[in-house]
């Protein structure tokens, strides 16, 4: 990375599902834990709601790192949303990396409503890594615009109910 403005602070966006990670983040607050203020949480009902297009937009508009967080596999409030998220995001992540994005800038994590500590640790670790990478200047991410993108990329549509749902096994 080029020389960085000393006052530069990374902008980190986290899409968190309402039922698990968002409540885990609330619990971290209740326990007065500390983590970097760079993180901005955007609440979604389910990690399965996160369209890869949102992630693209976030990078294109100037985010330096993006997290997608949901319930642990098997614990989804909506039965299978996190499995869809897992498959979509994993395929999408490979694609982003192919376009030149550093893998550390985009992560998928499963954090439950009781894992305040895991939420804090994840944020601390993630922000540290993004800070070390410096500002995202990529612009490499210039995939198709428009909201069908997630499906267009073939990382959503085929995941029918019949799709094999892995038991256990954590993305991280």
């Amino acid at each position: 990375m080029s020389v960085v403005d000393e006052k530069w602070e990374p902008t980190v966006l986290a899409f968190c599902c309402h039922w698990c990670t968002y409540s885990g983040a609330d619990l971290a607050g209740l326990n007065r834990m500390n983590y970097p203020a760079n993180i901005r949480v955007l609440r979604v009902p389910c990690s399965g709601r996160v369209n890869p297009q949102y992630v693209l937009t976030a990078f294109n508009k100037g985010c330096d790192g993006v997290l997608v967080c949901g319930c642990h596999p098997g614990d989804c409030h909506y039965v299978s949303g996190n499995y869809y998220a897992k498959r979509r995001m994993m395929a999408f992540k490979r694609l982003l990396e192919y376009t030149g994005l550093e893998p550390e800038r985009f992560q998928v994590r499963w954090i439950s409503g009781s894992e305040a500590g895991k939420f804090r640790d994840t944020v601390v670790d993630f922000c540290e890594k993004v800070r070390a990478l410096g500002p995202y200047t990529g612009g490499a991410v210039s995939l198709s615009e428009g909201l069908g993108a997630g499906a267009e990329l073939g990382v959503g549509a085929e995941l029918g109910v019949g799709a094999e749902l892995p038991q256990g096994g954590d993305a991280q």
Partner: protein, 660 residues
């Protein structure tokens, strides 16, 4: 142009301690379409709410942002507040500047900058909020119970006693399930028939209960409060309206068949009641074995029947009715040990029997009138080996889970054997003894006092030698090989899901776990609900359990039904998915992805490019959609969106964060 009001809460010093509220207010005033921004010591308090209500009137606001604690805390409070104003309760966004900001960041500068960002995002989102409305769904206060074992009967009785009509659909010719086959029940050893058959009679005679035996659910559509269910009542060849249940037909029927109720140890006729106290107390004809129906000979029952109730031309009857709630209680079956455990003879040795067969042997109304004798030669076995965990806790050959009731009924069988054959010897092979439950461990201890010898280890092989069944195994406590020469071996086999579980589960939108047990909505907090509204689980269809647990769960499921039926209408979730027919191309990706089967393809005729076009588009059922949004991402043309978390709203939040 929207008119946004932004209200920042101090929460005493909870927020104001680490966030410069005045700066946040100042910043909010500069965001697009913000008409007023103000702060409040405690926004959730009565005066706090009052001042917002006044601002709404004074500034003619049409939507608001509240920056305060988590929406998980007070979103509902503020929605309720909006009900008394001109603003729709969903024209509200909360910026969480307490749990996710002031409480976790010590630095005032960083906290304030972040709070401003969070308010920015909420303001961008609220700008795109639209009024949302719940719809009401009527509730048909009639319940369907599938399965008439002890769990299904208990659920039906409780719902019926609460005053609602219930239909029980039972696949077999009689109610009762497994419990009525049992001899005595642990730990109290009361006779199973004595406590089960009165329940059956209560169900049969309850004015609010309709019993459909030899019946199955063929098709289910609809949603909570409004299930359309088609039931197939199989031909019985006996008109129950005229049959008096006198039993004359049965005595004269010339055909004998192995009795399912007696687990193949006894016989029944081709026209039969499975057991004396069956409910309904009327016979059915087994078409596969009846001479008249297979080869048009005989017909003696028809000639003898004093009320002319026999009808060889009887056919299956299909009926479709509407129910508001469904309780699934289809129970379990026992694992097919013969196919899996060749080392135990795979079914070749007639004196290696299952636990359920033992129940019939020891039962006074069973095929041997309660004398414990060997199926092969009718002699009394002097040495019995009981093997537990056959198919349970055996991931290689059987299932990985514990079947929960077998330790107790294994001890029961040992006790019953030693009671009836005082000079007999009884060995119990076990992996662990698991007896949690009231009076359970005491029961197991008593069985040991009775003289049952517990050997810790699995039996690796059973073979016949000199008229004995040699059980070769290991006693892991002394680390030695052991051999027991038994006259009879009882296998306590694993409970596995009923055959219908998978098909019924997919028909009802109830998920199955890795072993195909039906899944509850939450393993701790919602143990009898399923992920499909209005569908509940009772008894062993959810997982192995004993009678007390099955009954408790059944009453809980009945209570859930009664709660549902205590209202006339149900309010649907407002934040659900919706499809734009003009964009939808009818590909059906959303239909497949929906975990609630809430989306269907429907044919519509609409004007497109000044022509009338008839094509398929997706439609979301507001009664079924839970608002997860998984479908929205799968939608290629971008027709599907989620109300309250729309694509536009989320994109605006992202944009606001980065670019405002």
């Amino acid at each position: 142009m929207s008119r946004i009001g932004v209200f920042i809460c101090h929460c005493g010093s909870n927020i104001a301690g680490t966030v410069d509220v005045a700066r946040v207010v100042e910043a909010a005033r500069s965001f697009p379409n913000v008409v007023v921004a103000d702060d409040n010591k405690y926004t959730c308090s009565d005066p706090g709410q009052q001042s917002i209500k006044e601002a709404i009137v004074e500034y003619n606001l049409d939507r608001i942002v509240i920056a305060s604690c988590s929406p998980r805390m007070h979103e509902l409070t503020f929605r309720k507040m909006l009900k008394d104003t001109s603003i729709n309760p969903y024209m509200l966004e909360i910026a969480n500047i307490r749990e996710q900001c002031s409480w976790v960041h010590k630095d005032i500068e960083a906290g304030t900058v972040k709070a401003i960002d969070l308010v920015k995002m909420a303001t961008a989102k609220v700008d795109k909020d639209t009024p949302l409305f719940t719809t009401t769904i009527p509730i048909n206060k009639r319940a369907l119970v599938i399965g008439g074992g002890i769990a299904g009967m208990q659920a039906a009785l409780d719902i019926a006693d609460a005053g609602y009509p219930v239909t029980i659909v039972e696949a077999e010719p009689s109610l009762g399930g497994k419990m009525v086959m049992l001899d005595k029940t642990f730990p109290t050893m009361d006779c199973s028939a004595c406590i089960c058959t009165p329940k059956m009679a209560d169900v049969g005679s309850h004015p609010n209960i309709t019993v459909k035996t030899l019946s199955e659910v063929e098709q289910v559509s609809g949603y909570v409060g409004n299930f359309e269910v088609t039931i197939r009542e199989k031909a019985k060849y006996v008109d129950y309206a005229t049959c008096t249940g006198c039993g004359l037909c049965e005595t004269k029927c010339p055909t004998k068949v192995a009795s399912e109720f007696d687990q193949g140890l006894g016989q029944r006729k081709a026209i039969y009641k499975p057991f004396a106290q069956a409910v309904p107390s009327k016979p059915t004809i087994d078409a596969a074995h009846c001479r008249k129906l297979t080869s048009d000979k005989c017909g003696v029952c028809e000639k003898l029947c004093p009320t002319k109730a026999i009808n060889f031309a009887d056919e299956d009857k299909l009926t479709t009715e509407t129910y508001g709630a469904i309780v699934v209680a289809i129970g379990y079956k026992l694992i097919d040990w013969g196919a899996l455990y060749g080392e135990y003879g795979g079914g070749r040795y007639s004196d290696v029997i299952s636990g359920l067969q033992f129940e019939r042997l020891v039962n006074a109304s069973g095929p041997t009138e309660g004398h414990i004798t060997r199926p092969s030669d009718g002699t009394e076995p002097k040495t019995v080996a009981i093997i537990k965990c056959v198919g349970s806790r055996d991931p290689e050959k059987g299932r990985s889970y514990c079947s929960r009731a077998c330790c107790m009924y294994g001890a029961k069988h040992a006790h019953q054997y030693l009671d009836k054959v005082p000079d007999g010897r009884c060995y119990v092979f076990y992996m662990d003894v698991r007896t949690p439950g009231k009076g359970y461990d005491e029961f197991y201890m008593n069985t040991q006092h009775d003289g049952a010898v517990y050997l810790r280890g699995r039996v690796s092989k059973i073979f016949e030698q000199g008229g004995k069944l040699i059980c070769k195994g290991e006693d892991t406590l002394i680390g030695k090989q052991v051999e027991v020469a038994a006259d009879m071996v009882v296998l306590e086999t694993a409970m596995v899901p009923a055959d219908a579980a998978d098909r019924l589960g997919s028909m009802l939108g109830v998920t199955r776990d890795k072993d195909l047990w039906l899944s509850e909505a939450h393993p701790k907090l919602r143990p009898v609900e399923t992920n499909s509204g209005g569908i509940y689980l009772a008894g062993t269809c959810q997982g192995p359990k004993d009678i007390p647990d099955s009954v408790a769960q059944a009453s809980a499921a009945a209570m859930k039904v009664a709660i549902l039926f205590s209202k006339d209408e149900l309010e649907s979730n407002a934040m659900i998915a919706g499809s734009d027919a003009s964009l939808c191309n009818g590909c059906g990706a959303c239909v497949n992805i929906c975990p609630y089967s809430a989306i269907t393809l429907e044919e519509v005729t609409r004007r497109e490019n000044s022509r009338m076009v008839t094509r398929q588009v997706s439609r979301v059922n507001p009664g079924l959609c839970q608002g997860c949004g998984a479908c929205t991402v799968a939608c290629k043309p971008g027709a599907m969106d989620l109300k309250g978390f729309s694509d536009e709203q989320i994109m605006k939040e992202v944009e606001a964060l980065c670019q405002w």
